[in-house]
Symmetry: C2
Subunit: 322 residues, 2 copies
Amino acid sequence: MDKHYVGIDLGGTNIKGGVVTASGEVLHFESIETEVEGGRDHVLDRIGMLAGKVRDAAGLQPEQIAAVGIGSPGPLDTKRGIIHEAPNLPGWINLPLADEVRRRCGYPTFLENDANSAALAEAHVGAGKGTQCMIMLTLGTGIGGGIVLGGRVWHGADDIAAELGHVSVKYDGIPCNCGSIGCVEAYASATGVVRRARQAIEQGADSSLAGADDSLTCEQVFRAAAAGDRLAQQVVDDTAAYLGTAIGSLINIFNPDMIVLFGGMTNAGDQLLVPLRHEVRKRSFKIGADRCKIVCSRLGAEAGVIGAAVTAMQALQEQREA
Amino acid sequence: MDKHYVGIDLGGTNIKGGVVTASGEVLHFESIETEVEGGRDHVLDRIGMLAGKVRDAAGLQPEQIAAVGIGSPGPLDTKRGIIHEAPNLPGWINLPLADEVRRRCGYPTFLENDANSAALAEAHVGAGKGTQCMIMLTLGTGIGGGIVLGGRVWHGADDIAAELGHVSVKYDGIPCNCGSIGCVEAYASATGVVRRARQAIEQGADSSLAGADDSLTCEQVFRAAAAGDRLAQQVVDDTAAYLGTAIGSLINIFNPDMIVLFGGMTNAGDQLLVPLRHEVRKRSFKIGADRCKIVCSRLGAEAGVIGAAVTAMQALQEQREA
């Protein structure tokens, strides 16, 4: 009988957990609060508890689970299962997360970066199923990424590959939080979208957003554009140009099968995808642009959990082969 | 007894050939003229002849050669050994080059893109020996590249990966020959260097290059900078900034062990490397920048031949494993 895997998607607000079959099907999924304020051990206990809880809820016996995978914010050491630092989990410095969870739930436990987990899930059972080279961009407050080559996450020498928000699209552009210049994240993240809209308004551009207070969101900008607001439309078009430049470069670098977009901004759907695909065509070789599908994530909220489970599956397999 | 491999580096002006051991040592190397004007079959005959000639010159018997590899300008179909088109070899359209050469020399023959071949050579026996991720940039009239992951060339879905000259460093920059905008090749290739120097002179900048005629070269610009010419120095500094932006992005994408620079512009040595490394530090994550060595090619003129031989070695091995 095939074994199953528990996937955990660890965030600062929620911990998602699921039981996933060897073919990537989710048997049970649930989300609990992280309760960061309870302290580190409390959160670790909750992860261990959730692993057992989803197993039981899926109607499985303890021996039917082969391993646990955790998708976590980074930076991490995936080989040693250590979380070096997590912005949303105060005090989690150089924590041997995989060991701590293994001790609590009794299963072999493996760690992966959360964006990589989501990318791995899409490549295995989502939009990118069957691809040999799939690149994910996570479009949210910041821009992250995951690169899946031949079904495996590309980690790089120090587990910090796929910082795709920090592809520079303008060598003499605006400064980025990371210290570099002109990163696509600085322009085209949700934060970048709002900042550009605000700047245009401050410079006196006529817009339905003109009265917006400090709570202006990226979603509002896209909605205003859809409603015919010219300033907002310019901001959306520019966003497509920035993203299209970075994706065009990625296509010329990797000649990938697929780019998958993930995260809040993808709710805009064709409003973003149509101009983005147009920009990518202008900015990459024809054969590569013809090849590369640009699509939105298919798995949504369950991607992290599935990817964490696939991480555990692959890690066990590698241990067996070694 | 270990078998040996013949590597052929096919160019529009010269065909280089060499006998290479299984450990990448060159036993014999020579270069003959391509004689393109003799027509396609004449050039194919010369390739076949050269394979036998270098084998004999190395003092080997026919059975001591296991296979022949050819590094060729592209675009290619490396799996089927077909050259789709070669700008410097008129009339070479969809030519089954590997089959044609195999028929002439009697050995299994395999094809690889010339920039990929050079990269593969550096990764196996040159500057990048022992690396898991090595990226080569060829800095010449244009800018090309090769990506070697885990000792293998990354080809992409259509054999057109690693077009590293067409990473855009300015989304609203100057048009590139490829049709895109702001490609690093448009700014930082030898052609780009000369064009920028010329433009500055035309705009009246004071420079020792001011009287230069149409034959102004990239080398002259670098030499003038070394001699204290301020305009030339600005052109060199800008070149480092453009290349540093593209390389910084590659570091954030791949988290590679090494970037190897290849081609004519690397003759500038530290005059290019020192400002380039400085720019890369400004434009990539610290851990990735600390990790990634940026060096010049070690193999020089023999890189293509060695890489073609390694291509043949790997292809034979894959055939055995399949």
